[in-house]
Amino acid sequence: MRALPAGEDALLIEVDSAEEVRSLHAALLRRRAAGTLAVREIVPAARTVLLDGLSDPGRWMSELTSPTEAPPPERTRPPVELPVRYDGPDLAAVAAHWKVSEREVARIHAGTEFTVAFCGFAPGFGYLTGLPARYDVPRRATPRTAVPAGAVALAGPYTGVYPRTSPGGWQLIGTTDALLWDHTRDPAALLSPGTRVRFVPTEDR
């Protein structure tokens, strides 16, 4: 674990795996809830957790990189279920990458339990991990200028769902009607770091 400087009131903590990010993030959230860590933002990402709005980053530099407490207890809340139709325009390309049929892509994807590793790109966009590394896929060589809201997509080790229409280079494998982001709802984001997710196939049409 390394603490990297990120300005006057921030610290970027780097670890070696997504697993470690998860337990570090959970430990930091517990500290904040317990009142022993005053910080404005705790932002997990692929291999790092950013602490932003920290009054004395220098003081935390050594303390936060000392071994953390025991791993967090398993979450008891059931996974968020997202209805999905595996009808994306890149389904065939992904099937070719995986060397399986399109139907099998759907079966594997819907059979996986995902966890939101982190959010970014757009409000409510979660980077979901859970697929084995052999199913990593590259981004599209040419990004689309408009990916529709609700598109279920793959890139690298991640699955994501576009919360609104936006440009994007991920491989589109399906569509969900779930509302990923609704600022009039509380919470606005359906997915936040640590949320477990399952995709549940619905009848096509």
């Binding site: 300005g7 790109f121 606005a188």
Partner: protein, 289 residues
């Protein structure tokens, strides 16, 4: 039809509603947003008798024109510019009354980029996640003003300041940005760090609320690997593949995959928001490099 409101007659190049933004949601991918020159926004709020978190208008380069449905007190600040009310010159940087039905004209900036218009009572559009700020990256908050936009006003909470005019810092002739080391300074060659500290950069015309883009020598990477997405801070000096440093401003993405070589001190960012394209930029390393 609400009476306490302003109607946009000329929206200008880009005029948005801004306040203190929506910090605290970066983990959901929500940028902080908020006024790019928070000091100027706070000052016009004070002049207009508003609390610091009241929403104001942020103009870009060429101001805007607004018609008052009822008599309102306003204050214009930030980038210096001519101000007229009902066609007659009015003071900049001071409370001004706009009578009912009359036009407030916020002219083109004579220096600087972003102007701020506070209206007594504050702009009372519906807040999103506790803020009325327009976030141009994620699209949260009200859309940029267009002709005919009606801006509802809140209830006044205090009297306007009793001043003739308030001193405001002028826009910089040269933008000096003090930088501490970024988390990925070691992804760059020693020469790149030296270049950043010693070479001349200029503000690029492609700058916006997301970032101050620069033109100048490309910074050389020591590592070609792809950086996994990581959290980004305000003031981060991110270096995209073209090598030209970009300084992240209020609407910056919460995570990013280009390495951050340095971080600009927060107190130097308002000047960055007022630096017009072409302004010379100097990065001044401070702290332990």
């Amino acid at each position: 039809m609400t009476d306490r409101a302003l109607v946009v007659v000329r929206p200008g190049a880009l005029t948005t509603v801004q306040d203190l933004g929506r910090p605290g949601y970066a983990h959901l991918g929500v940028p902080r947003s908020g006024a790019l020159d928070p000091g100027a926004a706070a000052l016009v709020n004070r002049l207009a008798g508003n609390p610091p978190d009241a929403a104001v208008l942020e103009t870009t380069v060429n101001g805007c024109s607004l018609r008052a449905r009822s008599a309102v007190t306003v204050a214009v600040g930030g980038a210096p510019c001519p101000v007229t009310v009902a066609g007659r010159p009015a003071p900049w940087g001071a409370p001004v009354v706009v009578p009912a039905g009359e036009l407030l004209e916020v002219g083109a900036a004579v220096a600087g980029v972003r102007g701020y218009v506070a209206v007594r009572g504050g702009i009372a559009v519906e807040p999103v996640l506790g803020s009325r700020a327009t976030d141009l990256l994620s699209g949260l908050g009200p859309a940029p003003l267009t002709e005919g936009t009606v801006l509802p006003l809140g209830r006044p909470t205090g009297p306007p300041a009793r001043v003739e005019g308030a001193p405001q810092p002028g826009p910089p002739a040269e933008l000096v940005l003090r930088v501490t080391p970024g988390p990925r300074a070691d992804w760059f060659t020693a020469r790149a760090v030296r270049d950043l500290a010693t070479r001349a950069y200029r503000v690029s015309a492609a700058s916006n609320r997301i970032g101050l883009r620069t033109e100048g020598p490309a910074l050389e990477r020591a590592r070609d690997a792809e950086l996994p997405s990581e959290g980004m801070v305000l003031g981060a000096v991110q270096v995209p593949p073209d090598g030209r440093p970009v300084v992240f401003l209020a609407d910056h993405p919460t995570t990013g995959g280009y390495p951050v070589i340095a971080v600009v001190r927060a107190s130097d960012l308002p000047a960055a928001a007022q630096a017009a394209p072409g302004t010379p930029v100097r990065f001044a390393p401070v702290g332990r490099w």
